[in-house]
Protein backbone atom coordinates (compact mmCIF):
# COMPACT_ATOMS: atom_id res chain seq x y z
CA UNK A 1 0.00 0.00 0.00
CA UNK A 2 2.83 2.39 0.91
CA UNK A 3 4.45 1.81 -2.48
CA UNK A 4 1.08 2.22 -4.21
CA UNK A 5 0.79 5.64 -2.57
CA UNK A 6 4.34 6.47 -3.60
CA UNK A 7 5.74 6.26 -0.06
CA UNK A 8 8.97 4.61 1.03
CA UNK A 9 7.88 1.38 2.75
CA UNK A 10 11.11 1.15 4.80
CA UNK A 11 10.37 4.53 6.35
CA UNK A 12 6.91 3.38 7.37
CA UNK A 13 8.33 0.16 8.82
CA UNK A 14 10.61 2.30 10.98
CA UNK A 15 7.67 4.49 12.01
CA UNK A 16 5.65 1.40 12.90
CA UNK A 17 8.51 0.06 15.03
CA UNK A 18 8.63 3.33 16.93
CA UNK A 19 5.03 3.13 18.20
CA UNK A 20 4.00 0.49 20.73
CA UNK A 21 0.50 -0.92 21.14
CA UNK A 22 -1.82 1.69 22.64
CA UNK A 23 0.88 4.38 22.52
CA UNK A 24 -0.34 7.79 21.39
CA UNK A 25 1.33 9.44 18.43
CA UNK A 26 0.80 12.62 16.48
CA UNK A 27 1.87 13.23 12.93
CA UNK A 28 2.96 16.60 11.65
CA UNK A 29 3.08 16.47 7.87
CA UNK A 30 3.62 19.05 5.23
CA UNK A 31 3.53 19.10 1.47
CA UNK A 32 0.90 18.36 -1.15
CA UNK A 33 0.27 14.84 0.10
CA UNK A 34 0.01 15.53 3.80
CA UNK A 35 -3.61 14.30 3.94
CA UNK A 36 -2.54 10.99 2.38
CA UNK A 37 0.27 10.71 4.90
CA UNK A 38 -2.06 11.29 7.84
CA UNK A 39 -4.73 8.87 6.55
CA UNK A 40 -2.16 6.19 5.81
CA UNK A 41 -0.68 6.66 9.29
CA UNK A 42 -4.04 5.99 10.96
CA UNK A 43 -4.12 2.64 9.12
CA UNK A 44 -0.47 1.62 9.11
CA UNK A 45 0.57 2.69 12.61
CA UNK A 46 -2.06 0.63 14.42
CA UNK A 47 -2.08 -0.48 17.21
CA UNK A 48 -0.65 2.94 17.94
CA UNK A 49 -3.37 5.55 18.51
CA UNK A 50 -3.31 8.85 16.69
CA UNK A 51 -4.00 12.08 18.57
CA UNK A 52 -4.36 15.50 17.00
CA UNK A 53 -2.37 17.52 19.53
CA UNK A 54 1.37 16.71 19.70
CA UNK A 55 1.29 17.73 23.36
CA UNK A 56 -0.79 14.63 24.13
CA UNK A 57 1.46 12.30 22.10
CA UNK A 58 4.22 10.01 23.32
CA UNK A 59 5.71 10.03 19.82
CA UNK A 60 5.51 12.86 17.32
CA UNK A 61 6.39 12.11 13.71
CA UNK A 62 7.58 14.94 11.50
CA UNK A 63 6.99 14.02 7.87
CA UNK A 64 8.59 16.22 5.23
CA UNK A 65 8.65 19.09 7.71
CA UNK A 66 11.42 21.64 7.57
CA UNK A 67 12.86 22.60 10.93
CA UNK A 68 11.67 19.61 12.98
CA UNK A 69 12.56 20.18 16.65
CA UNK A 70 15.57 18.43 18.19
CA UNK A 71 16.24 15.72 19.28
CA UNK A 72 14.24 14.14 16.45
CA UNK A 73 15.48 10.66 15.46
CA UNK A 74 15.80 10.35 11.69
CA UNK A 75 13.77 7.47 10.21
CA UNK A 76 14.28 8.32 6.55
CA UNK A 77 14.67 11.24 4.23
CA UNK A 78 13.01 14.23 5.94
CA UNK A 79 11.10 11.95 8.30
CA UNK A 80 11.89 11.79 12.00
CA UNK A 81 10.35 10.79 15.33
CA UNK A 82 10.42 12.75 18.54
CA UNK A 83 9.74 10.65 21.62
CA UNK A 84 8.18 12.52 24.51
CA UNK A 85 7.16 11.95 28.08
CA UNK A 86 3.55 12.87 28.60
CA UNK A 87 2.49 14.13 31.99
CA UNK A 88 -0.76 12.51 33.09
Amino acid sequence: MARFLGFDDRVWEEMQRTVEKGERYAIVAEGERKDHVVTYATYRLLPGIRVLDPVEAEVVFYYHVDDAPEPCTALGERVCALERTVEE
Binding site: M1, F4, K21, G22, R24, T39, Y40, T42, Y43, L46, P47, I49, R50, V51, L52
Partner: protein, 462 residues
Protein backbone atom coordinates in the same frame (compact mmCIF):
# COMPACT_ATOMS: atom_id res chain seq x y z
CA UNK B 1 -2.71 -19.40 10.62
CA UNK B 2 -2.90 -17.93 7.09
CA UNK B 3 -5.58 -15.43 6.12
CA UNK B 4 -7.38 -18.11 4.09
CA UNK B 5 -7.37 -20.58 6.98
CA UNK B 6 -8.52 -17.88 9.40
CA UNK B 7 -11.45 -16.88 7.17
CA UNK B 8 -12.46 -20.52 6.73
CA UNK B 9 -12.19 -21.26 10.47
CA UNK B 10 -14.27 -18.20 11.37
CA UNK B 11 -16.83 -19.05 8.65
CA UNK B 12 -17.11 -22.58 10.10
CA UNK B 13 -17.85 -21.17 13.57
CA UNK B 14 -20.35 -18.70 12.09
CA UNK B 15 -22.01 -21.57 10.21
CA UNK B 16 -22.36 -23.46 13.48
CA UNK B 17 -23.95 -20.37 15.05
CA UNK B 18 -26.19 -20.05 11.98
CA UNK B 19 -27.39 -23.65 12.31
CA UNK B 20 -28.39 -22.84 15.87
CA UNK B 21 -30.21 -19.70 14.67
CA UNK B 22 -32.19 -21.62 12.02
CA UNK B 23 -33.28 -24.22 14.54
CA UNK B 24 -33.98 -21.71 17.33
CA UNK B 25 -36.12 -19.49 15.09
CA UNK B 26 -37.99 -22.48 13.66
CA UNK B 27 -36.84 -21.99 10.07
CA UNK B 28 -35.59 -25.55 10.36
CA UNK B 29 -37.92 -27.55 12.61
CA UNK B 30 -36.36 -30.99 12.24
CA UNK B 31 -32.84 -32.35 11.72
CA UNK B 32 -33.80 -33.10 8.10
CA UNK B 33 -34.86 -29.49 7.61
CA UNK B 34 -31.62 -28.33 9.22
CA UNK B 35 -29.74 -30.31 6.59
CA UNK B 36 -32.00 -29.00 3.82
CA UNK B 37 -31.60 -25.36 4.91
CA UNK B 38 -27.87 -25.58 5.67
CA UNK B 39 -27.12 -23.07 2.90
CA UNK B 40 -28.71 -20.34 5.00
CA UNK B 41 -26.53 -21.08 8.02
CA UNK B 42 -23.25 -19.31 7.10
CA UNK B 43 -24.93 -15.95 6.38
CA UNK B 44 -27.28 -16.30 9.37
CA UNK B 45 -24.24 -16.88 11.60
CA UNK B 46 -22.43 -13.91 10.04
CA UNK B 47 -25.49 -11.72 10.61
CA UNK B 48 -25.73 -12.84 14.25
CA UNK B 49 -22.00 -12.40 14.92
CA UNK B 50 -22.04 -9.05 13.11
CA UNK B 51 -25.03 -7.65 14.97
CA UNK B 52 -23.57 -8.78 18.28
CA UNK B 53 -20.16 -7.36 17.34
CA UNK B 54 -21.73 -4.01 16.45
CA UNK B 55 -23.67 -3.96 19.72
CA UNK B 56 -20.56 -4.79 21.76
CA UNK B 57 -18.69 -1.98 20.00
CA UNK B 58 -21.22 0.40 21.54
CA UNK B 59 -19.95 -0.69 24.94
CA UNK B 60 -16.32 -0.35 23.87
CA UNK B 61 -15.89 -4.14 23.69
CA UNK B 62 -15.46 -6.58 20.83
CA UNK B 63 -16.57 -10.04 19.86
CA UNK B 64 -13.28 -11.92 19.97
CA UNK B 65 -12.65 -15.51 18.90
CA UNK B 66 -13.56 -16.94 22.33
CA UNK B 67 -16.77 -14.90 22.09
CA UNK B 68 -17.51 -16.37 18.67
CA UNK B 69 -16.94 -19.90 19.98
CA UNK B 70 -19.30 -19.18 22.90
CA UNK B 71 -21.84 -17.66 20.51
CA UNK B 72 -21.76 -20.74 18.28
CA UNK B 73 -22.07 -23.06 21.29
CA UNK B 74 -24.92 -21.01 22.74
CA UNK B 75 -26.83 -20.83 19.46
CA UNK B 76 -26.37 -24.56 18.87
CA UNK B 77 -27.59 -25.34 22.39
CA UNK B 78 -30.64 -23.11 21.95
CA UNK B 79 -31.42 -24.56 18.54
CA UNK B 80 -30.86 -28.11 19.80
CA UNK B 81 -33.24 -27.52 22.71
CA UNK B 82 -35.93 -26.26 20.32
CA UNK B 83 -35.44 -29.24 18.00
CA UNK B 84 -35.70 -31.62 20.97
CA UNK B 85 -39.00 -30.09 22.09
CA UNK B 86 -40.57 -30.59 18.66
CA UNK B 87 -42.49 -33.74 17.84
CA UNK B 88 -40.55 -36.33 15.86
CA UNK B 89 -41.12 -36.73 12.16
CA UNK B 90 -40.31 -34.70 9.12
CA UNK B 91 -42.28 -31.93 7.56
CA UNK B 92 -43.97 -32.74 4.28
CA UNK B 93 -41.95 -31.83 1.23
CA UNK B 94 -42.98 -31.47 -2.33
CA UNK B 95 -40.83 -33.76 -4.41
CA UNK B 96 -39.99 -32.02 -7.65
CA UNK B 97 -40.71 -33.96 -10.81
CA UNK B 98 -37.82 -35.18 -12.93
CA UNK B 99 -36.56 -32.30 -15.05
CA UNK B 100 -36.92 -32.66 -18.80
CA UNK B 101 -34.06 -32.25 -21.29
CA UNK B 102 -34.76 -28.55 -21.80
CA UNK B 103 -34.87 -27.90 -18.05
CA UNK B 104 -31.64 -29.83 -17.58
CA UNK B 105 -29.96 -27.70 -20.23
CA UNK B 106 -31.12 -24.48 -18.52
CA UNK B 107 -29.91 -25.77 -15.14
CA UNK B 108 -26.55 -26.80 -16.60
CA UNK B 109 -25.92 -23.42 -18.26
CA UNK B 110 -26.93 -21.49 -15.12
CA UNK B 111 -24.85 -23.71 -12.81
CA UNK B 112 -21.85 -23.45 -15.14
CA UNK B 113 -22.19 -19.64 -15.19
CA UNK B 114 -22.30 -19.44 -11.39
CA UNK B 115 -19.33 -21.80 -11.06
CA UNK B 116 -17.29 -19.90 -13.65
CA UNK B 117 -17.94 -16.56 -11.94
CA UNK B 118 -17.08 -17.99 -8.52
CA UNK B 119 -13.82 -19.48 -9.79
CA UNK B 120 -12.91 -16.18 -11.46
CA UNK B 121 -13.80 -14.23 -8.30
CA UNK B 122 -11.77 -16.50 -6.04
CA UNK B 123 -8.82 -16.35 -8.44
CA UNK B 124 -9.06 -12.56 -8.58
CA UNK B 125 -9.32 -11.99 -4.84
CA UNK B 126 -6.98 -14.81 -3.69
CA UNK B 127 -3.83 -12.67 -3.38
CA UNK B 128 -5.22 -9.20 -3.92
CA UNK B 129 -4.36 -6.59 -1.25
CA UNK B 130 -6.71 -3.86 -0.13
CA UNK B 131 -5.94 -1.16 -2.67
CA UNK B 132 -8.97 1.13 -3.04
CA UNK B 133 -8.96 4.15 -0.76
CA UNK B 134 -12.01 3.52 1.45
CA UNK B 135 -11.21 -0.20 1.47
CA UNK B 136 -8.02 0.24 3.48
CA UNK B 137 -8.43 3.75 4.90
CA UNK B 138 -11.88 3.19 6.38
CA UNK B 139 -13.06 -0.42 6.43
CA UNK B 140 -9.61 -2.02 6.72
CA UNK B 141 -8.50 0.48 9.36
CA UNK B 142 -11.59 -0.09 11.50
CA UNK B 143 -11.37 -3.88 11.21
CA UNK B 144 -7.70 -3.81 12.13
CA UNK B 145 -8.30 -1.42 15.05
CA UNK B 146 -11.08 -3.67 16.38
CA UNK B 147 -8.85 -6.73 16.06
CA UNK B 148 -5.89 -5.08 17.81
CA UNK B 149 -7.50 -2.72 20.31
CA UNK B 150 -11.19 -3.53 20.58
CA UNK B 151 -13.71 -0.72 20.15
CA UNK B 152 -11.48 1.77 21.95
CA UNK B 153 -13.11 5.23 22.01
CA UNK B 154 -9.59 6.66 21.63
CA UNK B 155 -9.98 5.51 18.01
CA UNK B 156 -13.71 5.13 17.39
CA UNK B 157 -14.78 8.38 19.00
CA UNK B 158 -11.67 10.46 18.50
CA UNK B 159 -11.50 13.63 16.37
CA UNK B 160 -8.17 12.30 15.06
CA UNK B 161 -10.12 9.63 13.14
CA UNK B 162 -13.20 11.76 12.37
CA UNK B 163 -12.43 11.87 8.63
CA UNK B 164 -13.01 8.09 8.44
CA UNK B 165 -16.79 8.18 8.91
CA UNK B 166 -16.88 7.19 12.56
CA UNK B 167 -20.65 7.60 12.42
CA UNK B 168 -20.95 4.40 10.35
CA UNK B 169 -22.01 1.37 12.42
CA UNK B 170 -19.40 -1.30 13.01
CA UNK B 171 -20.99 -4.56 11.85
CA UNK B 172 -18.64 -5.18 8.92
CA UNK B 173 -15.43 -4.16 10.71
CA UNK B 174 -16.52 -6.46 13.56
CA UNK B 175 -16.96 -9.35 11.11
CA UNK B 176 -13.66 -8.68 9.33
CA UNK B 177 -11.84 -8.36 12.65
CA UNK B 178 -12.58 -12.00 13.54
CA UNK B 179 -10.29 -13.61 10.92
CA UNK B 180 -7.76 -10.83 11.51
CA UNK B 181 -7.56 -11.95 15.14
CA UNK B 182 -7.08 -15.57 14.12
CA UNK B 183 -4.53 -14.92 11.35
CA UNK B 184 -0.83 -14.70 12.00
CA UNK B 185 0.38 -11.17 11.27
CA UNK B 186 -1.67 -8.66 9.32
CA UNK B 187 -2.38 -9.12 5.66
CA UNK B 188 -4.91 -6.75 4.12
CA UNK B 189 -6.00 -9.57 1.80
CA UNK B 190 -7.71 -11.19 4.80
CA UNK B 191 -10.30 -8.38 4.77
CA UNK B 192 -11.06 -9.08 1.10
CA UNK B 193 -11.32 -12.81 1.78
CA UNK B 194 -13.78 -12.00 4.55
CA UNK B 195 -15.82 -9.96 2.02
CA UNK B 196 -15.65 -12.89 -0.40
CA UNK B 197 -16.96 -15.23 2.31
CA UNK B 198 -19.95 -12.91 2.85
CA UNK B 199 -20.61 -12.86 -0.90
CA UNK B 200 -20.47 -16.63 -1.27
CA UNK B 201 -22.58 -17.15 1.87
CA UNK B 202 -25.13 -14.74 0.39
CA UNK B 203 -25.50 -16.74 -2.82
CA UNK B 204 -25.90 -19.96 -0.85
CA UNK B 205 -28.49 -18.28 1.39
CA UNK B 206 -30.51 -16.95 -1.54
CA UNK B 207 -30.56 -20.38 -3.15
CA UNK B 208 -31.60 -22.14 0.04
CA UNK B 209 -34.00 -19.42 1.16
CA UNK B 210 -35.99 -19.48 -2.07
CA UNK B 211 -35.52 -23.12 -3.14
CA UNK B 212 -38.59 -24.35 -1.29
CA UNK B 213 -40.83 -21.85 -3.09
CA UNK B 214 -39.22 -21.44 -6.50
CA UNK B 215 -38.46 -24.24 -8.96
CA UNK B 216 -34.73 -24.72 -9.58
CA UNK B 217 -35.19 -24.20 -13.31
CA UNK B 218 -36.38 -20.67 -12.55
CA UNK B 219 -34.26 -19.89 -9.49
CA UNK B 220 -30.86 -20.93 -10.81
CA UNK B 221 -30.90 -18.68 -13.93
CA UNK B 222 -31.94 -15.72 -11.76
CA UNK B 223 -29.07 -16.48 -9.37
CA UNK B 224 -26.70 -16.75 -12.32
CA UNK B 225 -27.78 -13.26 -13.46
CA UNK B 226 -27.30 -12.00 -9.87
CA UNK B 227 -23.80 -13.44 -9.53
CA UNK B 228 -22.70 -12.56 -13.06
CA UNK B 229 -23.61 -8.87 -12.74
CA UNK B 230 -20.07 -7.40 -12.82
CA UNK B 231 -20.75 -5.06 -9.89
CA UNK B 232 -21.11 -8.03 -7.52
CA UNK B 233 -17.62 -9.48 -7.41
CA UNK B 234 -15.84 -6.40 -8.80
CA UNK B 235 -17.11 -4.22 -5.95
CA UNK B 236 -16.70 -7.04 -3.45
CA UNK B 237 -12.99 -7.04 -4.33
CA UNK B 238 -12.63 -3.42 -3.22
CA UNK B 239 -13.41 -4.17 0.42
CA UNK B 240 -16.14 -1.52 0.42
CA UNK B 241 -19.38 -2.17 2.32
CA UNK B 242 -21.83 -1.84 -0.56
CA UNK B 243 -21.94 -5.47 -1.71
CA UNK B 244 -21.95 -7.00 1.80
CA UNK B 245 -24.84 -4.62 2.56
CA UNK B 246 -26.53 -5.75 -0.66
CA UNK B 247 -26.12 -9.40 0.39
CA UNK B 248 -27.71 -8.96 3.83
CA UNK B 249 -30.48 -6.82 2.33
CA UNK B 250 -31.16 -9.26 -0.53
CA UNK B 251 -31.51 -12.26 1.75
CA UNK B 252 -33.53 -10.18 4.24
CA UNK B 253 -36.10 -9.07 1.68
CA UNK B 254 -36.19 -12.56 0.13
CA UNK B 255 -37.00 -14.12 3.52
CA UNK B 256 -39.58 -11.39 4.21
CA UNK B 257 -41.18 -12.00 0.80
CA UNK B 258 -41.32 -15.70 1.51
CA UNK B 259 -43.19 -14.92 4.74
CA UNK B 260 -45.48 -12.58 2.81
CA UNK B 261 -46.26 -15.40 0.39
CA UNK B 262 -48.00 -17.17 3.27
CA UNK B 263 -45.08 -19.04 4.73
CA UNK B 264 -44.27 -19.60 8.43
CA UNK B 265 -43.58 -16.67 10.75
CA UNK B 266 -40.09 -18.07 11.29
CA UNK B 267 -39.14 -16.58 7.90
CA UNK B 268 -40.04 -13.11 9.14
CA UNK B 269 -37.92 -13.72 12.24
CA UNK B 270 -34.99 -14.68 10.01
CA UNK B 271 -35.65 -11.63 7.80
CA UNK B 272 -35.43 -9.52 10.97
CA UNK B 273 -31.91 -10.78 11.63
CA UNK B 274 -30.74 -10.08 8.06
CA UNK B 275 -32.40 -6.65 7.92
CA UNK B 276 -30.80 -5.74 11.26
CA UNK B 277 -27.45 -6.78 9.77
CA UNK B 278 -28.16 -4.63 6.69
CA UNK B 279 -29.12 -1.64 8.85
CA UNK B 280 -25.87 -1.98 10.82
CA UNK B 281 -23.67 -2.44 7.74
CA UNK B 282 -23.76 1.15 6.56
CA UNK B 283 -25.86 4.28 7.06
CA UNK B 284 -27.90 3.66 3.90
CA UNK B 285 -28.71 0.20 5.27
CA UNK B 286 -31.12 1.76 7.74
CA UNK B 287 -32.88 3.59 4.90
CA UNK B 288 -33.22 0.38 2.88
CA UNK B 289 -34.46 -1.60 5.90
CA UNK B 290 -37.05 1.13 6.59
CA UNK B 291 -38.13 0.94 2.92
CA UNK B 292 -38.49 -2.85 3.21
CA UNK B 293 -40.64 -2.55 6.35
CA UNK B 294 -42.82 0.12 4.73
CA UNK B 295 -43.35 -2.30 1.85
CA UNK B 296 -44.22 -5.09 4.27
CA UNK B 297 -46.70 -2.85 6.09
CA UNK B 298 -48.30 -1.87 2.79
CA UNK B 299 -48.59 -5.45 1.57
CA UNK B 300 -49.07 -7.37 4.80
CA UNK B 301 -52.67 -6.58 5.64
CA UNK B 302 -53.87 -8.74 8.52
CA UNK B 303 -50.29 -9.45 9.64
CA UNK B 304 -49.08 -5.94 10.34
CA UNK B 305 -48.53 -6.51 14.05
CA UNK B 306 -45.84 -9.06 13.22
CA UNK B 307 -44.23 -6.59 10.80
CA UNK B 308 -44.18 -3.89 13.48
CA UNK B 309 -42.62 -6.28 16.00
CA UNK B 310 -39.94 -7.20 13.48
CA UNK B 311 -39.27 -3.52 12.63
CA UNK B 312 -39.11 -2.76 16.35
CA UNK B 313 -36.47 -5.45 16.84
CA UNK B 314 -34.33 -3.93 14.07
CA UNK B 315 -34.78 -0.46 15.57
CA UNK B 316 -33.71 -1.83 18.97
CA UNK B 317 -30.60 -3.39 17.43
CA UNK B 318 -29.70 -0.02 15.86
CA UNK B 319 -30.50 2.11 18.89
CA UNK B 320 -27.26 1.60 20.87
CA UNK B 321 -25.16 2.71 17.91
CA UNK B 322 -27.28 5.83 17.44
CA UNK B 323 -26.79 6.57 21.16
CA UNK B 324 -23.03 6.07 20.73
CA UNK B 325 -23.01 8.54 17.82
CA UNK B 326 -24.96 11.13 19.84
CA UNK B 327 -23.01 10.67 23.09
CA UNK B 328 -19.66 11.09 21.30
CA UNK B 329 -21.03 13.81 19.06
CA UNK B 330 -19.82 12.04 15.93
CA UNK B 331 -20.59 14.15 12.91
CA UNK B 332 -22.17 12.83 9.72
CA UNK B 333 -20.58 15.11 7.14
CA UNK B 334 -22.46 13.66 4.12
CA UNK B 335 -25.88 14.98 5.12
CA UNK B 336 -28.07 15.86 8.10
CA UNK B 337 -31.58 14.45 8.00
CA UNK B 338 -32.74 17.28 10.26
CA UNK B 339 -32.05 19.67 7.36
CA UNK B 340 -35.21 18.23 5.74
CA UNK B 341 -37.14 20.50 8.10
CA UNK B 342 -35.53 23.68 6.72
CA UNK B 343 -38.27 24.04 4.15
CA UNK B 344 -37.03 27.17 2.38
CA UNK B 345 -33.52 25.77 2.08
CA UNK B 346 -34.76 22.38 0.85
CA UNK B 347 -37.13 23.89 -1.74
CA UNK B 348 -34.24 25.81 -3.25
CA UNK B 349 -32.32 22.56 -3.77
CA UNK B 350 -35.02 20.29 -5.17
CA UNK B 351 -33.56 20.55 -8.69
CA UNK B 352 -30.67 18.44 -7.39
CA UNK B 353 -33.05 15.46 -7.19
CA UNK B 354 -33.58 15.58 -10.98
CA UNK B 355 -29.84 15.68 -11.70
CA UNK B 356 -29.18 12.92 -9.18
CA UNK B 357 -32.05 10.84 -10.55
CA UNK B 358 -30.65 11.00 -14.06
CA UNK B 359 -27.22 9.99 -12.84
CA UNK B 360 -28.55 7.10 -10.73
CA UNK B 361 -30.66 5.79 -13.61
CA UNK B 362 -27.67 6.01 -15.97
CA UNK B 363 -25.59 4.02 -13.47
CA UNK B 364 -28.36 1.49 -12.82
CA UNK B 365 -28.96 0.60 -16.47
CA UNK B 366 -25.27 0.27 -17.26
CA UNK B 367 -24.99 -3.39 -18.37
CA UNK B 368 -21.26 -3.54 -17.62
CA UNK B 369 -22.15 -2.95 -13.98
CA UNK B 370 -25.50 -4.59 -13.34
CA UNK B 371 -26.12 -6.73 -16.42
CA UNK B 372 -29.85 -7.29 -16.71
CA UNK B 373 -30.58 -7.08 -12.98
CA UNK B 374 -32.63 -3.89 -12.99
CA UNK B 375 -34.67 -5.00 -16.00
CA UNK B 376 -35.29 -8.40 -14.34
CA UNK B 377 -36.33 -6.84 -11.04
CA UNK B 378 -38.57 -4.12 -12.44
CA UNK B 379 -40.01 -6.52 -15.03
CA UNK B 380 -40.82 -9.10 -12.36
CA UNK B 381 -42.61 -6.48 -10.23
CA UNK B 382 -44.59 -5.25 -13.24
CA UNK B 383 -45.60 -8.76 -14.34
CA UNK B 384 -46.59 -9.76 -10.79
CA UNK B 385 -48.59 -6.54 -10.33
CA UNK B 386 -50.42 -7.04 -13.59
CA UNK B 387 -51.02 -10.78 -13.49
CA UNK B 388 -51.39 -12.03 -9.97
CA UNK B 389 -48.90 -11.83 -7.09
CA UNK B 390 -50.00 -8.33 -6.17
CA UNK B 391 -48.98 -8.38 -2.51
CA UNK B 392 -45.44 -9.36 -3.41
CA UNK B 393 -45.39 -6.79 -6.21
CA UNK B 394 -46.55 -4.10 -3.80
CA UNK B 395 -43.82 -5.11 -1.35
CA UNK B 396 -41.07 -5.12 -4.00
CA UNK B 397 -42.30 -1.95 -5.69
CA UNK B 398 -42.65 0.00 -2.45
CA UNK B 399 -39.24 -1.17 -1.22
CA UNK B 400 -37.47 -0.13 -4.41
CA UNK B 401 -39.35 3.14 -4.88
CA UNK B 402 -38.72 4.28 -1.30
CA UNK B 403 -35.08 3.18 -1.36
CA UNK B 404 -34.53 5.17 -4.57
CA UNK B 405 -36.46 8.18 -3.23
CA UNK B 406 -34.40 8.07 -0.02
CA UNK B 407 -31.16 8.10 -2.00
CA UNK B 408 -32.38 11.08 -4.04
CA UNK B 409 -33.24 12.89 -0.82
CA UNK B 410 -29.67 12.38 0.42
CA UNK B 411 -28.41 14.11 -2.75
CA UNK B 412 -30.81 16.98 -2.07
CA UNK B 413 -29.53 17.37 1.49
CA UNK B 414 -25.81 16.82 1.05
CA UNK B 415 -23.70 19.96 1.48
CA UNK B 416 -21.14 18.64 -1.02
CA UNK B 417 -20.93 19.71 -4.63
CA UNK B 418 -23.54 17.51 -6.32
CA UNK B 419 -21.47 16.49 -9.35
CA UNK B 420 -18.51 15.57 -7.16
CA UNK B 421 -20.69 13.61 -4.72
CA UNK B 422 -22.45 11.73 -7.51
CA UNK B 423 -19.10 10.97 -9.13
CA UNK B 424 -17.76 9.47 -5.90
CA UNK B 425 -20.68 7.27 -4.92
CA UNK B 426 -23.63 7.09 -7.37
CA UNK B 427 -22.60 3.74 -8.80
CA UNK B 428 -22.09 2.27 -5.33
CA UNK B 429 -25.16 3.42 -3.38
CA UNK B 430 -27.58 1.84 -5.86
CA UNK B 431 -25.94 -1.58 -5.58
CA UNK B 432 -27.96 -2.74 -2.57
CA UNK B 433 -31.51 -1.83 -3.74
CA UNK B 434 -30.88 -3.18 -7.25
CA UNK B 435 -29.50 -6.51 -6.03
CA UNK B 436 -32.26 -6.80 -3.42
CA UNK B 437 -34.98 -6.17 -6.00
CA UNK B 438 -33.35 -8.76 -8.26
CA UNK B 439 -33.35 -11.24 -5.34
CA UNK B 440 -37.13 -10.88 -5.15
CA UNK B 441 -37.61 -11.46 -8.87
CA UNK B 442 -37.65 -15.29 -8.95
CA UNK B 443 -40.27 -15.46 -6.21
CA UNK B 444 -42.39 -12.80 -7.93
CA UNK B 445 -42.28 -14.73 -11.21
CA UNK B 446 -42.93 -18.11 -9.57
CA UNK B 447 -45.89 -16.84 -7.55
CA UNK B 448 -47.34 -15.20 -10.67
CA UNK B 449 -47.01 -18.45 -12.64
CA UNK B 450 -48.61 -20.37 -9.75
CA UNK B 451 -51.61 -18.02 -9.65
CA UNK B 452 -52.08 -18.08 -13.39
CA UNK B 453 -52.04 -21.89 -13.35
CA UNK B 454 -54.52 -21.95 -10.47
CA UNK B 455 -56.82 -19.58 -12.39
CA UNK B 456 -56.53 -21.80 -15.47
CA UNK B 457 -57.49 -24.82 -13.37
CA UNK B 458 -60.53 -23.05 -11.93
CA UNK B 459 -61.56 -21.85 -15.40
CA UNK B 460 -61.12 -25.41 -16.74
CA UNK B 461 -63.45 -26.85 -14.06
CA UNK B 462 -66.15 -24.37 -14.98
Amino acid sequence: MSGWAAVLAVAALETAAGIGVLAALGVAGTPVEVARRLGLAPLAGMALAGVLGALLAFAGARLGLPGLVALAAGALALGGARLARRPRGTSPTRRPGRPGARELAVLAVAAATILAVWVAAIAGIRDRPLAEWDGWAMWGMKARALALLGADPAVFASPAYAHLHLEYPLLLPALHSLPLQAAEGYQSNTVLLSCLAIGLAGIAALWTGLAGRVRPVLLLPFLAAYVAAPAFFVQLATGYADVPLAVFLSVGVACAARWLARDRSAWLALATLFLAAAALSKNEGLLFAAAAYTGLLAAGSGRRRAVLASAGAVALACLPWRVFVEVHDLEAPDYRLADSLRLGWVLGRLDRAWTAGQELVDAAVEPRRFGLLLALGVGAVAVAAALGARRLALFGGTFFALSSAGLLWVYVLTPYDLRYYLFTNAERVIVAPIFALAALAPLLVEETVRRLRAEELVAGRR
